[in-house]
């Protein structure tokens, strides 16, 4: 029971540190057991150091840095326990353009083994997609789906729809 938890923790932790570096272009991150002696109940802390910055409590980091850290954790969990498909609902909302770019590259990498359905407003994410569905509400209160071809203008237009 705790052996299984310890094994899972180890594996997720390694993936987390790895994916964090891909997303941040450097830096370090790891999970830490709050009470290593109490494997049955211990909570888990997140210790990170973005590139060029000091080791800090997650709380002092910026909105975007915090979101990117959690995205790394979610993908680490996904690599430990893969799903055949995965739905992501606007998880990159607080990221700036550079970080959306890095996120979309990570997505492409994971998409080799997993189908992704990504709800997004961000251009960078749309640019790595293989297919695009547009959701509209022409008739008030009723959703309708439109399949959209991925031309440059098409993506721009839909973003501002």
């Amino acid at each position: 029971m705790t052996k299984r938890f310890a094994g899972a923790f180890e594996e997720v932790n390694n993936a987390f540190g790895d994916i964090y570096q891909k997303l941040f272009g450097g830096g370090t991150a790891r999970l830490q057991l709050a009470n290593p002696e109490d494997l049955l109940e211990t909570g888990i802390d997140i210790i990170v150091q973005p590139p060029g910055k000091k080791l800090q409590n997650l709380a002092l980091l910026s909105g975007g840095e915090r979101a990117l850290t959690v995205i790394a954790l979610l993908f680490a969990l996904l690599s430990f326990k893969p799903s055949p498909f995965c739905v992501l609902d606007e998880i990159e909302a607080s990221l700036d353009e550079t970080n959306v770019e890095r996120f979309s590259q990570l997505l492409k990498l994971f998409a080799e083994k997993t189908q992704f359905i990504v709800i997004s407003h961000r251009q960078g994410t749309m640019e790595v997609s293989d297919a695009l569905y547009g959701v509209t509400m022409e008739e008030a209160g009723v959703s309708k789906i439109v399949s959209v071809r991925l031309t440059e203008e098409g993506k721009q237009e839909f973003r501002s729809a």
Partner: protein, 165 residues
């Protein structure tokens, strides 16, 4: 295991019959605020066996049935069908293609079907157990999930790993 399509009728804002087909790789879903994107994510969660109305943003399960609009009456039933390619045999039932359907009525009655054969919710949940689509999987990352994990206590984060293990 491979997602082929999702068919929606009467679920939340999807009053009309709607079919989404999925290929390999990344499918983006875009559109204005309130158009119905997260509702699609709710559909998938629901047909996989979600039992918490709160996770679906409602207070009771019947909240997922189309509640009407200025030009349309409320509907009496919501139905979602999810079709998977099972050539890998990961789902342990002898079908190449598996369609799981779920219905709910205003009365609160529910129906579940696997390849058109009526079954119980438990059968659906058992089907997806250990496939990466069951409870504790990360198949659906909802719109508030990142925020939720950031605000979570160390004990709650433990649960993420525990449920995965």
């Amino acid at each position: 295991l491979y997602l082929k399509s999702v068919e929606i009728q009467g679920f939340k804002s999807f009053a009309d019959k709607t079919k989404l087909e999925f290929g390999p790789g990344i499918t983006a879903v875009v559109g204005p605020n309130g158009s119905g994107k997260s509702n699609i994510s709710d559909c998938i969660r629901w047909v996989l066996g979600e039992q918490s109305a709160k996770t679906l943003r409602g207070t009771k399960m019947e909240d997922v049935i189309f509640a009407g609009s200025p030009h349309r009456k409320p509907l009496s039933m919501a139905e979602v069908s999810l079709t998977l390619d099972n050539s890998s045999g990961i789902l342990n039932i002898p079908y190449q293609e598996v369609t799981v359907s779920r219905r709910v009525f205003r009365s609160g009655e529910a129906e579940y079907l696997i390849n058109k054969i009526p079954c119980r919710l438990k059968d659906v949940q058992d089907l997806f157990n250990d496939t990466g689509l069951g409870k504790g999987s990360f198949a659906i990352i909802g719109q508030g999930k990142v925020e939720e994990i950031l605000n979570s206590k160390p004990e709650e984060r433990r649960a993420l790993i525990e449920e995965a293990a």
